[in-house]
Amino acid sequence: MQISISEINEIINKEALSDGSLIAALEEIQERFRYLPPEALILASERLGVPLSQTYAVATFYNAFSLNPKGKHCLHVCMGTACHVRGSPQVLDRLESKLAVKAGETTRDHLFTLETVNCLGACALGPIVVTDGEYSGQMTTQKVDQLLRTILRAEAKP
C-alpha cells in the first residue's frame, strides 16, 4: 500500500485539535493503512509535541496497533471464556494448521492475518470467528474449512 504523507498529516492535524489524542490519531492511521508506518509515528510525535520514544511505546503497548502490514483478510478468533468452553481452541488449532501460521502472524503471501481477540461479547454464539468484520458464529472445524474455501475461491476469481 502506498503511504501518503499528506493523508497521514491530515489525520494527525485533525486530532491535534483535541487534547491528548495521540491514540485517536494512531487508531485512524491504523485503520486507514492497516498498520502504523514509521513515518506516521515520527510525524505524530512532532505535531502533537510528544517524544518519539513515548509514541513508539504507545504503538507497541496496545494490541490495536501493528508496526507490520496486515494481510488482506483478517481473521479474529474469539478466545473469551464462553467461546473457550465451547471449543474455540479447536477452531484456532484448525486455522493455525490450515494457514500454517500461529496466532498473531501473517501468511507469507500476505493474504491472511490470524489473530485472537479477548471476547467480542457475542457469547451466545461461541465459538466466533470474525472475518474482515463479518461475524461467523457456532464455528466448528468443518466450518473453518468452509470459510477458508469460500475466501480462497473469491480470491481465485479474475
Binding site: S18, D19, G20, S21, L22, I23, A24, L26, E27, L48, V50, Q54, A57, V58, F61, Y62, N63, A64, F65, M79, G80, T81, A82, C83, H84, V85, G87, Q90, D93, R94, S97, K98, V117, N118, C119, L120, G121, A122, C123, A124, L125, G126, I128, G133, Y135, S136, G137, T140, T141, Q142
Partner: protein, 619 residues
Amino acid sequence: MNRMQTATKFQNWQHALTSGWDDTKPCLRVCDGTGCRALGSQKVLTALRDEIHQAKLDTRIEVVGTGCPGFCEYGPLITVYPERISYQKIKLSDVHEIVTQTLVEGKIIDRLIYTDPQTGAHVHHEPDLPFYQKQKRLVLDLNGRIDPTKIEDYIALGGYSSLVKAITTMQPEQIIVEIKASGLRGRGGAGFSTGLKWELCRNNVLQVGEGYIICNADEGDPGAFMDRSVVEGNPHSVIEGMIIGAYAMGVHQGFVYIRAEYPLAVENLRIAIRQAEAANLLGKDILGTGFDFQLSVRLGAGAFVCGEETALMASIEGRIGEPRPRPPYPAQAGLWGKPTNINNVKTWAAVPIIIKQGAEWYAGIGTEKSKGTLIFSVVGKINNTGLVEVPMGISLRQLIFDIGGGIPKGKAFKAAQIGGPSGGCLPAEHLDVPIDYESLTALGAIVGSGGLVVADEDTCMVDFARYFMNFTQEESCGKCVPCRLGTKAMLATLERICAGEGQPGDIEYLLELAESVKNSSLCALGQTAPNPVLTTIRYFREEYEAHIFDKRCPAKVCKGLITYSIIAENCSGCMVCLRECTSNAITGTKRQVHSINPELCSRCGVCMNVCKFEAVAVN
C-alpha cells in the same frame, strides 16, 4: 429536530411524543444487537422490510431494529406487537411465512414459538417467557423496545425527564444526597458507594475549579457483554446519567472510554450524542439553564488493563496504559491532574432511574447493604445464554436454574465463575448464596462487572484456572514485578500441571505466589489475578491433586493427560475422521476398524466431533 430552548419546550415535545407512542399498533421489533447480527439479524430485517413492502403493508406495520433484550441463546428474536408474540431462532426462510401467516392472517407459527424444556408448554408472549419471570429489568427495560438510534423513542418512554427534574428543580448537593441514600454502589466491580464518590469529587472540584467525569465502557472481561448491550441498546440512558452527574459534581467535560472492539456500540453512542446535542440536551447552555457539558468518545486500543481507572486515564492522556499508585485517588487528582469521577456504564445508566423514582424506592430493592439490581451476562454451559437483570440478593441457584434454564444435556452443575478473570468460582455447595457484594467476597469471589460463566462436570477446573491466568498474564501491563513475573510463574506452574508434569509442592507454591501477587501488586489487575487459582484450589483441590499425583484429568480435558481411541465395536470404517485429522494420526481403510496413533494425536477432538457412530472415546 428542534433545539429545546427551555425545559418547558422539552416537556411539551415529550408530551407529544408520549401521546404518540402506541403499543397497540402493529409493529415488529427485531433484536439488532451485535449478538443477533452475528446470527444474521440484519438480513432478516432487510427481508422483513422487503416482504412488508411487497405486501403493501408499510403504512400499517412498522419494523424496528432494537437493542439486545437478553434472550441471546434463542436469537434472532422478533417480537410481534401488539400481542407481543415472541418468535425465536428466526431464519431467512421464515420471513415470508411470518408476514403472510402472522401479520396478514393473524396466525401463530408454532415452530417459532418457545417451548419450555421442562414442561413442554408453548409460551406465546414475551412477558410470559420463564426467562423473564424472576428478573427485574430496570436498566435493561427499554432494550428490545426502543430504536437506539432514535432519541424520540427514548423521550417518548420518559427519557430525559430525570435530567429536567435534576437540572431545574434540584440543587447539586441534593442530587448527591439522593444518590447516597439510594445505596447505589459502583457496578464496575469495586462496589464503592457511588454517592460518596461523587461527593468526594465535588468537594475537590469546588476547590480546584474544574474536573472531569468518565464512563468506563472498556468492558474487557471475557464472557461479559452487559456494558456493550446497554450502550448499543440504550445509549441515552448513559448520557442522561452522565449529564446529571456532571451537574451534581460541577464539571463541564466528560468522556466515554469504550472498547474499539465494540463498533456497533460506538456507532450508536455517537449517533445518540449528536442527537442529544441537536436537541440542546447536551453541550452549551443545556435547556437554557446556563449549564454546559461536553461529552466526547474515546476508543480503547486493545488493552484489558485500561479498564483499571488510572490506566484508563493514562490512555486518554495519550500514554501507555500503566496504572498509577493510589493515593492520590482520581477524585483528588485524575485526568491531567484534575479531580475526576469514573463510573461504569451500568452505574451511570442507573442514575436517571434513581432520580425519577426516588432513592427510597431504589433502596427498597435488594439487600441491606447491596441495593438495586445487577446485570449479568450468563454464558458457558447454560441453556439460556444471555443478559439478565436481577435484584440483589437473588440466589445463585435461582439465577442459574430458574432464569438460566439449567445445564444443557442434563449435565451436572460444577461451578460458576463470577467476576471474570478477577473473580472466583463458586461450587455447588454454595448455590444458595445470595448474590450481593459482601456474601460473595466472604466466599472468595467478587460480584465484578457482571460476567457469570457456568462450568459443568465436563469442565476441568485446573484448565479453567489456567485459562484465566493465561488471560491476565497476557494483559498485564508489566510495570510491577509481582504481576509481570508472578502471573508468569503461576501460569507456567499451571501449564506444567495441565501437561501432566505437576510436581509435589506445586499447590503450595501456587498459594505462596498467589498471596504475594495479591498483596503486593500495584493495581487491581495484579491484586485480583490470583483469585481464580485461589478459589479453584479452595473448592476443587482434589482435581489439582489428581493432575499432580495421579497424572489424571478427571474431566478429560487436559491434552497431556488424555488419549483418544477408537471403540472397535462402533467403528464402521467410514474414513471420515481419518480425512479430518490434521495430524495424520488415524490409520485404517474402508470398512476396516480405524486406529489412532497416540504419538501423533494432538488431542484436538475433531475426530470425536465428526464421528456419526460414537466410535471415538476419550480416556
